[in-house]
């Protein structure tokens, strides 16, 4: 199902949680709402579900206005961060709940409910657990039960609020891959909220980066990571080094390093801030033909696929450079030595 969101605004007292949000979710898409806590992502999800209502704006499900539809009428599946399973019911009864509470005329037969629940138990790989109570399950299993319960009513859209937020790192990783595979199987339009950038980038077809009630950027994982639209997205998705430069004619002076004035610097601007990802900086023991500046190595962390080198620039700013293990061994870097740093790719944002 296709979802259209237009100019959605929501205030809690004086606090503006959503400031005119517009967004389209394509049918069958897995979309991530990513942002720091308090950015409005959960509020947006709850408004989509009908658990909250917007002050203004419109929501359309497949073209039909759903803005003021009740949560029961919307037919959405909702998965909560803390599972919200019914503790006094077994796994089986939890999953069957949505079918059993239907009005008598629409309620499936006992056998149909039983078959449906078995099918969902297979889907979430919990066939053996049907008779258990939620307290007898692990966190990951509980969240799978919650997902099966939401899918039992055959919702038009699946909404997940920080679904892996309460799980430990390893289970979280397993479960998000599993969710991705599941989505590839059942193709239900899904929106999930997360503050974990890695999770959003790994799982979603498209990522919506939100900040302070606004959308900063919408795009594929690749697009939001490699072509951030705003300084916020740069900061939020991964590490970034900032350099403050002075405009001198058609050049930009960054601590003595003169580079061509990049696109994005306004004509009348006197200063500009440059954004460079740590892996887009190169270290050389000697000056090379590229533009460079001097820095002193302060700390080296060689554990992991990439070597993280912390340096202090000649003008006293801390920066981080990520190198491959091979490159690190070739350079034979030592602490407290002076090196020459050159950027390969930079971005400038108008200030």
């Amino acid at each position: 199902m296709k979802i259209e969101i237009q100019n959605l605004t929501k205030k809690f007292g004086a606090f503006a949680a959503l400031k005119s949000i517009s967004l389209d979710v394509a049918s069958g898409e897995l979309l991530a709402l990513l942002g720091p806590s308090g950015c409005g992502k959960t509020t947006l999800l709850r408004i989509l579900a009908g658990l909250e209502f917007a002050d203004s704006g419109a929501i359309r499900f497949d073209g039909d206005d759903a803005t003021s539809q009740s949560v029961r009428a919307r037919k959405v599946g909702f998965v909560f961060q803390h599972y919200a399973l019914f503790r006094h019911m077994t796994v089986f009864e939890n999953i069957a709940f949505g079918l059993r509470v239907r009005p008598r005329k629409l309620r499936p037969s006992r056998q149909a409910i039983h078959d449906k629940v078995q099918e969902l138990l297979n889907l979430v790989k919990l066939e053996e657990m049907a008779a258990r109570y939620p307290t007898q399950l692990s966190g990951g299993q509980r969240q799978r039960v919650a997902l099966a319960r939401a899918l039992a009513v055959e919702p038009r859209v699946l909404l997940l609020d920080e679904p892996f937020g309460a799980l430990d790192a390893k289970v979280r990783q397993e479960l998000r891959r599993w969710l991705r595979r599941l989505h590839d199987e059942i193709h239900i339009t899904s929106v999930f909220v997360t503050h974990d950038q890695e999770e959003a980038l790994e799982v979603a077809d498209r990522v919506v980066v939100m900040n302070a009630g606004r959308i900063e950027q919408i795009g594929t994982s690749d697009a939001v990571y490699n072509q951030p639209a705003t300084p916020f997205v740069y900061h939020f998705l991964g590490q970034v080094n900032l350099f403050h430069g002075r405009v001198e004619g058609d050049k930009l002076n960054v601590g003595g390093m003169l580079i061509d004035k990049p696109d994005g610097v306004q004509d009348e601007a006197e200063t500009a801030t440059i954004y460079v990802r740590p892996h887009m900086l190169e270290i050389d023991p000697r000056p090379n033909q590229h533009q460079h500046f001097r820095a002193t190595i302060k700390h080296i962390n060689a554990a992991g696929p990439q070597v993280k080198v912390e340096l202090i620039t000649a003008w006293g700013a801390p920066i981080q450079v990520d190198l491959s293990q091979e490159r690190f061994r070739v350079l034979a870097l030592k602490k407290e030595t002076e090196v020459f740093v050159s950027p390969r790719e930079i971005r400038v944002f108008a200030e």
């Binding site: 037919k75 019914f86 019911m89 949505g98 509470v101 007898q136 919650a146 319960r149």
Partner: protein
């Protein structure tokens, strides 16, 4: 066994606290109750049986346990409503009402009995209005049930309230997204969650009502076979220096109360079985 007891634990003081608990329970509960049984033992079986199955005694059991049961049942229903209102809604005077719930704990029961008698007797404010409807409250089993309801009210409210407060709003939201109407959400999600607490509250209100004496004697009228509760019958026997007879009735009350409370406890354990982790 010795090994087991010597097992090291980070929680200190097991021996000391258990010893104290046993001593305390013995002094306060077990020894006085054992005295009751000892005194009763001075009767022969036939005497004992005749005492406890006398028509007047049987009528008093029916009244005591029956009225207490109805009162506890009423408290379970209305106590739940009061707890619900206090937890779920914000309104002016909420704290005042919250404090009022505890009044039956603090008020001397005799005062409550006198107040109820004054209000519900045929000349009282409310009794005056009920009289033309053919409803007599004071000096009838109805009046007894009424005061027993009064003194038992806080138990249900205070046991259900914290459980109700702990119910996460997500549970109801989850039920709503699954299409459950309000009433079904209450019946199938909220009610099963508070049920164990409700049963505890019921048991406490019931136990309190069975043992109540002070407030009942004022409103009951204390007519043998009609409005005489067992505790009053015991007092009557004491006043006639029939100590063994009094303790015989006390033993019956003890055994029946204990059996009922045990039953309720088992029921409660069964109904909260989903809390257990294998």
């Amino acid at each position: 066994m010795a090994l087991l007891l010597k097992k090291r634990s980070v929680l200190p003081g097991f021996g000391l606290t258990l010893g104290f608990t046993l001593l305390y329970l013995s002094l306060i509960v077990l020894i006085p109750l054992a005295g009751t049984f000892l005194k009763t033992a001075s009767l022969s079986w036939t005497q004992f049986w005749e005492t406890i199955t006398a028509p007047r005694a049987l009528a008093s059991y029916r009244l005591s346990f029956g009225a207490s049961f109805i009162a506890a049942l009423l408290n379970s229903i209305f106590g739940l409503v009061v707890a619900w209102v206090l937890v779920r809604y914000q309104f002016p005077g909420k704290r005042l009402i919250d404090a009022m719930v505890d009044l039956p704990f603090a008020l001397p029961t005799a005062v409550a009995g006198i107040a109820f008698t004054a209000v519900y007797s045929s000349q009282g404010w409310i009794g005056k209005l009920l009289e033309p409807l053919g409803l007599q409250v004071a000096f009838t089993p109805l009046g007894i049930t009424l005061v027993l309801t009064f003194i038992g009210l806080p138990f249900v409210v205070r046991t259900v309230q914290p459980v109700l407060e702990d119910i996460e709003p997500e549970l109801e939201e989850a039920a709503a997204t699954l299409g459950a109407p309000r009433w079904r959400t209450f019946r199938r999600v909220i009610f099963p969650t508070i049920w164990p607490a409700l049963v505890t509250g019921f048991a406490m209100a019931f136990a309190r009502a069975v043992g109540e004496y002070g407030s009942v004697i004022f409103i009951a009228g204390n007519m043998p076979m009609r409005t005489e509760i067992t505790p009053l019958l015991i007092i009557t026997k004491l006043e006639q220096y029939d100590y063994a007879g009094a303790t015989a009735l006390a033993v019956v009350m003890l055994v029946v109360s204990f059996a009922l409370l045990l039953l309720i406890n088992l029921l409660q354990e069964w109904s909260s079985r989903f809390h257990k982790v294998n």
